[in-house]
C-alpha cells in the first residue's frame, strides 16, 4: 500500500527535471524574443568579445560596421576568462587558437608581431602559430601574463 502511494510522487519526479528544462528554455526563448538575454551575456560589444565567444560572423559584421580590429578593448568576465580582461581581437584569436579568424583579422589590417608569436607559444596555439610566426626571443609565460594582468 505504501509503495503504491509512491507512484504519484515518482511520476512527478520523473516529469520534474524534463519539464523544468523545457519550460525554462521556453522562458529563455520568450525573453530573447523580447530583447533580454538570460543565461548569456548578450550580444558581443566589440570584435574581441565576438571572437572570445567563437562568433566570427559577428566579429566580421562589427568590423564591416567600422569597429576596430586592432584596438585593445574590454572583454567581459565569463567570455574569455572568469575575470574581465583587456585584449586586442588578434590576441583573443591567438589565445583561442582560431587560425581562420587570425587570417581574417590580418586581412583586415591587424598586424602580427613578436608579442603575438610569444602569446601563441605560451598558450600552445599550434594553428595560430603558423599564422603569426615563430617567436624569436620571449620569456615563457610573459606574453600571456601581460595580457591577463593588463591594467
Amino acid at each position: 500500500m505504501v509503495r503504491h502511494r509512491l507512484v504519484t510522487p515518482l511520476c512527478v519526479l520523473a516529469a520534474l527535471a524534463p519539464v523544468a528544462v523545457t519550460v525554462g528554455a521556453a522562458l529563455v526563448a520568450a525573453a530573447e524574443i523580447g530583447g533580454a538575454h538570460p543565461l548569456t551575456v548578450g550580444p558581443p560589444r566589440n570584435v574581441a568579445e565576438a571572437i572570445a565567444v567563437g562568433d566570427a560572423a559577428t566579429a566580421a559584421r562589427l568590423a564591416d560596421g567600422g569597429a576596430s580590429v586592432t584596438e585593445i578593448v574590454f572583454v567581459r568576465a565569463g567570455l574569455l576568462a572568469p575575470q574581465p580582461i583587456l585584449a586586442s581581437p588578434l590576441e583573443v584569436a591567438v589565445m583561442l587558437d582560431q587560425a581562420p579568424t587570425v587570417d581574417f583579422l590580418l586581412a583586415r589590417g591587424a598586424v602580427r608581431n613578436e608579442h603575438l608569436a610569444c602569446l601563441a607559444a605560451d598558450v600552445g596555439a599550434r594553428a595560430a602559430r603558423t599564422r603569426v610566426g615563430e617567436p624569436v626571443q620571449c620569456r615563457k609565460g610573459e606574453a600571456l601574463r601581460d595580457v591577463l594582468e593588463r591594467p
Binding site: 520523473a14 524534463p18 519550460v23 579568424t101
Partner: protein, 471 residues
C-alpha cells in the same frame, strides 16, 4: 470531453511546447557551408531529370530522391533559402515530436507524467543531436526517422485502410531512394506483422517486399552501386579515429571484422551511449582517471533506460512467449527489431546520426518500461531501486536535453564562422564558382548568415565546462 482525451491533449500540448523551443533554437542556425553549400551548387544548373539520371550512375550510394528534394526546395524557394530550408527543418522536428506522442498513446495522468521523460530521451540523445545540428541542407536522416516512426504509428492502428497502405508504400519507396536506411520502413512493417499489429495490411507488406527485392536486384545487378568502401571516410575504432588509409592498411581484404565492429558499436551506442561514432570515449576517460561530466551523464542515463527496458522484457516474458501482446509490448518489441536492423544496416561505417531511428524507438521503449515499473511498484520487492533509476533517468536526460539546446546555440556561431572564410573553404574543397549564379548564391547565403540573421547570444564559458565536448 472525456478525462482520457483531456490527458492526451495535455501530452500533445507539452509536445507542442517542446517543438516550439526546439524550433526557436533551430531557427538560430543558417544554411551551413559544409555539406550544404556544395550540394546547393551541385543542384543549381542541372534539371531535375539530369540530376536523377546522374544519381543512377553513382558508386556506393543510390540516393536520387535526396538530390531531387534539395533541387525541388531550391527551385521553389525563389531565393528565400533560409526561410525554406530552416522552415523545413522546424516542420520535421514538429512532426517527429508529434508522432512520438502519438506512438506513446498517453491516456491517463500517470502516462502524461512520463511523456516529458520520453521526449527528453528523444531530444537529449546523441543520435538526435546531429539530426538537428546538421542539414544537407535537408536532414535526410531526420526524414527517415519520421517516416519509420509514422509507419509504426500507422501499424499500431486498429485496422488497415487503403489510404494508409498507399501512404506507407509511398513512404517506403521515397525513403529507400533517399537514404539506404529507408529500408527500416519495411522492417517495421514486417515486424508489425509478426507482432500481429493490424494497421497495415498484408497486401501492402507484400507490395513492399516485392519493391524491396526489386530495389536490391536493381541496385546490385543493374546499376552496380555496391557499398561504401573502406576508403570512403574516416571512422571511429577503439579509442581513436582511423583515416581511410589506416582502415585500408588494417582491414583491406578482410573487412568483416570492421563491419562486425560497426554493427556492435551501433547496437551499443543506442543502449549505453558508448561508443560514440565508434570511439569508446567513456572507457578511455576511465583509463585516464578523468571522466568528463557529459560522458558520465550520457552513459549513466542511457544505461538506466536500458536497465528499465530489460526489466520490462523480463517481467513480460510470459506475454512475449505466448504472443499475447499489448500496445506497450509491441512498442518494446519494435524497438528491439528496429535497433537490430538499424545496427545491421550501419555495417559499412558507424555514425551517431545513422542510429537516429533506433534512438527514437528507444525513447518510446523507455516510456513503456517506466510506466510499467511505476504501475507495478506495489508488486516489486523494493521500491528503492526503481526510484533510483527514475532519478537518474529524469535528471540525466534533462541534462542531455539542455546539452542539445547548448549544442544548437554553439552550432549557430560555428556555422556562421564558416561563412566568414567561405572562400578558403572553397579552395580547400577545390571548388571553383562557375558563373554568376554560383557567385550570387555564395553572396546571398553569406549575407543571410552574417548580416540578415545575426548570431544568437552565445553561452558564457561557465556552460562550456559542462557541455562543450566533441559530440
Amino acid at each position: 470531453m472525456s478525462a482520457d482525451r483531456r490527458w492526451t491533449l495535455i501530452a500533445y500540448g507539452y509536445g507542442a511546447l517542446l517543438s516550439a523551443v526546439l524550433g526557436y533554437f533551430l531557427l538560430g542556425l543558417v544554411v551551413q557551408v559544409s555539406d550544404s553549400f556544395g550540394n546547393l551548387l551541385a543542384v543549381q544548373k542541372p534539371t531535375l531529370a539530369e540530376l536523377l539520371r546522374d544519381q543512377f550512375s553513382q558508386r556506393a550510394y543510390l540516393r536520387p530522391l535526396l538530390w531531387a528534394q534539395i533541387k525541388l526546395v531550391y527551385d521553389l524557394s525563389g531565393g528565400q533559402y533560409y526561410d525554406w530550408f530552416r522552415g523545413i527543418h522546424v516542420v520535421q522536428v514538429v512532426l517527429l515530436v508529434g508522432l512520438t506522442v502519438a506512438f506513446l498513446r498517453p491516456q491517463r495522468a500517470a502516462d502524461v507524467a512520463l511523456v516529458p521523460l520520453s521526449l527528453a530521451v528523444l531530444t537529449g540523445a546523441h543520435t538526435f543531436a546531429p539530426m538537428v545540428r546538421e542539414a544537407f541542407p535537408i536532414n535526410s536522416f531526420l526524414t527517415i526517422a519520421i517516416c519509420v516512426l509514422a509507419t509504426a504509428v500507422l501499424a499500431a492502428r486498429d485496422r488497415s485502410r487503403w489510404y494508409t497502405d498507399v501512404l506507407v508504400i509511398v513512404m517506403f519507396v521515397g525513403a529507400v531512394l533517399t537514404v539506404e536506411s529507408g529500408i527500416l520502413i519495411w522492417v517495421v512493417c514486417a515486424g508489425a506483422a509478426l507482432l500481429k499489429m493490424q494497421g497495415i495490411s498484408r497486401r501492402a507488406l507484400v507490395v513492399m517486399t516485392v519493391a524491396l527485392g526489386l530495389y536490391v536486384v536493381v541496385r546490385i545487378l543493374v546499376f552496380n552501386v555496391g557499398t561504401p568502401s573502406l576508403a570512403e571516410r574516416a571512422s571511429g575504432f577503439g579509442f581513436g579515429v582511423l583515416e581511410p588509409s589506416e582502415l585500408i592498411a588494417r582491414f583491406e581484404g578482410r573487412p568483416w571484422g570492421f563491419y562486425l565492429y560497426n554493427v556492435i558499436s551501433s547496437f551499443s551506442t543506442v543502449l549505453f551511449s558508448e561508443p560514440k561514432g565508434g570511439v569508446w570515449r567513456f572507457i578511455y576517460e576511465l583509463t585516464l582517471g578523468s571522466v568528463h561530466p557529459w560522458t558520465a551523464v550520457s552513459v549513466a542515463s542511457s544505461a538506466a533506460g536500458t536497465v528499465l527496458v530489460l526489466r520490462y522484457v523480463w517481467t513480460r516474458r510470459q506475454q512475449f512467449r505466448t504472443l499475447a501482446f499489448e500496445h506497450g509490448d509491441r512498442v518494446v518489441a519494435l524497438f528491439v527489431i528496429v535497433l537490430a536492423a538499424n545496427a545491421a544496416l550501419s555495417f559499412p561505417y558507424t555514425k551517431n546520426v545513422i542510429m537516429g531511428p533506433a534512438g527514437v524507438f528507444f525513447a518510446a521503449a523507455v516510456y513503456v518500461a517506466a510506466r510499467s515499473s511505476l504501475d507495478n511498484l506495489a508488486a516489486a520487492r523494493s521500491a528503492v531501486p526503481i526510484a533510483a533509476v527514475m532519478v537518474v533517468l529524469s535528471f540525466g536526460w534533462a541534462f542531455r536535453e539542455v546539452g542539445t539546446l547548448y549544442n544548437l546555440r554553439r552550432t549557430a556561431a560555428e556555422q556562421r564562422a564558416e561563412w566568414v572564410t567561405v572562400d578558403q573553404w572553397l579552395e580547400r574543397q577545390r571548388l571553383v564558382l562557375q558563373g554568376a549564379d554560383a557567385r550570387t548564391l555564395r553572396n546571398h547565403l553569406q549575407r543571410d548568415a552574417i548580416w540578415a540573421h545575426p548570431t544568437p547570444s552565445q553561452p558564457t564559458s561557465a556552460w562550456k565546462r559542462w557541455f562543450d565536448i566533441d559530440w
